[in-house]
Subunit: 156 residues, 2 copies
Amino acid sequence: MKNSPFEDLDLPPEFISLVGATILSHAIQKNYETSELAHCTNKHQKMMLVILQHPRRMGELAKLLNMLPSSVTAIADVLEDLRFVSRERDPNDRRAWIVTLTDEGADMRQKLIAEASMRFRELTNLNADEIQELARLLTKTTDNISVAGFPNEALE
Amino acid sequence: MKNSPFEDLDLPPEFISLVGATILSHAIQKNYETSELAHCTNKHQKMMLVILQHPRRMGELAKLLNMLPSSVTAIADVLEDLRFVSRERDPNDRRAWIVTLTDEGADMRQKLIAEASMRFRELTNLNADEIQELARLLTKTTDNISVAGFPNEALE
DNA sequence: TCTGGATGTTTCACTTTCTGAAGTAATGTT
DNA sequence: AACATTACTTCAGAAAGTGAAACATCCAGA
């Protein structure tokens, strides 16, 4: 059984990490699609639900998700149709919309998080310490990505 | 400066890891597009070059990249037009094609790896030990994903 | 050897997703 | 008041992903 695509390579650890991150992310997202929760079809819809732990403006969502405003509009439209979020004008800036989870959306968000965590354990087979360490390293990483202004430039 | 989309969350470490992996992978792939190497436009083309450290059959590529055979055909067509790979019949099974890097393709492969590694260091700001540890954890993960038969089932 | 079923790949039409330009409305700046 | 900027939406075209059908080859059993 030849498992890894990289079995006999002396790739730099940076690259191995990158590929590992990609495979992991891809695998869980593929896996998701076969679940009960599949009616939020795509990964961006799921990700938007997850980062809506509190209400956010459309533009903020676009930056966080690293997407174009027009894509955020499309995704929010779907989530609104599904009654997972509602949109209201920002009273402080009437150009902007504020997106808020509905109760149903908050429910789905919890389920998504729980399901992803379960899949993660199944797929990775890491022990609790290792998961903790991985989370630490990747938190440091994403914090730095945000601080570096890349790819979400000028996030405030 | 409010950085992380998860600043005030008590998400499980599994989920944080998953999101971190996704953000990291996404960030570097976005970044890639602005580089000199952008003419291999999409991430799957790049990934295919990377895993072609030795010749592989189309079907093998599909499994490793977790894609449909028809998608692999499309990608290989592009890489062939770019003269990065060549396709020859497998002498042991004349239904199958074997994809091999050209010299030019091997060159590009090295550049892709080097560039991704550089971007990785810039983006993550992890020190050498941390990178090593991250690589270790993610290698364990991807190995397990393959062994678990998911998503690349029955990879042999 | 013949036959039928499985396998490896390609083609093609289809659907979904992404992208970017143009438009609308509100804000802020001078 | 005029003009530039910002926030978001709309829409149409481009790109990517999907799955059924076709084709050639392989393999196992009669």
